[in-house]
Symmetry: C2
Subunit: 201 residues, 2 copies
């Protein structure tokens, strides 16, 4: 009754919303209710944004970040340092690193991390494409910027071993105390890493 009775259109919307990551049946219901209550213009804008993004945005064939042109803006930018490739999990990580304004090299988006539980191995990620970019003499350093958690570390370790024979320098983002953080509140793993990675001052 209700949704099922009152229109297959609603059931179809609930089904489609339910396919989205992180959207369960309850969230789908809440979103559908919101859209039905919202003015037509808002719903139309969302539908148009979905269609437009598929038409105008795709994955960069070089680094697999988002692109509107043939390649993404960073790959196309001749001002970037082409001797370094920073390897990240998702396109949003590119945005996060760009925001720091401390890195001027290129990127490579894996599209996830190695996760045997989710049946994601190197073949499900853009690893092969990364290795083929390293065959050019231009690249001298690969910076592994996967997340500092179990899966991110596993992926970084795998990549470090795979890249080593190619004679390219492989580095990893530093782990340590967050700037502005309080030693007392740091978890022991982070604090341990900070001690191990201590530097001369």
């Amino acid at each position: 009754m209700g949704p099922t009775h009152d229109g297959r259109a609603l059931q179809r919307l609930l089904d489609e919303l339910g396919r989205l990551p992180g959207i369960g049946p309850k969230s789908a219901q809440r979103i559908a209710y919101h859209l039905l209550s919202a003015d037509d213009e808002e719903a139309r804008r969302l539908a148009a944004a979905i269609v437009d993004v598929k038409e105008q945005v795709h994955f960069c064939p070089v680094c697999f970040s988002y692109a509107t042109g043939e390649t993404c803006d960073i790959c196309a930018d001749h001002g970037r340092d082409r001797s370094a490739i920073c390897v990240v999990q998702e396109p949003r990580d590119v945005t996060a690193i760009e925001r720091t304004a401390t890195y001027h090299g290129l990127y490579h988006v894996l599209g996830g991390v190695i996760s045997p539980m989710d049946k994601i191995g190197p073949d499900q990620l853009h690893v092969r494409e990364l290795l083929s970019r390293l065959t050019s003499d231009e690249v001298q350093e690969v910076i592994l910027a996967t997340n500092p958690n179990v899966e991110g570390e596993t992926t970084a370790t795998y990549l470090a071993r795979t890249i080593a024979p190619l004679g390219v320098r492989v580095t990893r983002l530093a782990s340590g105390l967050p700037v502005g953080g309080d030693l007392e509140y740091a978890d022991e793993v982070t604090l341990g890493r900070a001690i191990e990675a201590r530097r001369e001052v």
Copy 2:
């Protein structure tokens, strides 16, 4: 960079997704990434489902549940008992009660609950429309089926007081131990209610 650089289409999609209830910036990113990775057909189906639902589904002008026809299927069904109106918060509550197959009367969807914190009072809900339905001699019982939490109880109490002068019988869904539940694990409020509402056997 990233999203902002690589296409206003992507930023527009993130903005529109961010307007949906329960979707924060991170969820919006995840959904956008999913849609970009998905085949065109899936994204097109979602966009079409949104447009279709707005065209085909609306709120029933009598009970404010979902409707595709002039009124919803339940209001239009002459087999339903027109002497009882069950008052619920959301259209999905109609679905939940219909699933029990124990109620054969009509419904009235409030569209929420009284919540001063969220600036929602009786005027923001379909209370006036409920009262005007009660002026017909047909209705003999109003069953208050708002959720058994603070806001749901407040709303039920308000409605009970407002409806009382109209001479219509007002009932509330029973609170008590869930069927199949274990007394030991029941919270004390539920157990207290179960004791107060004990019945002769």
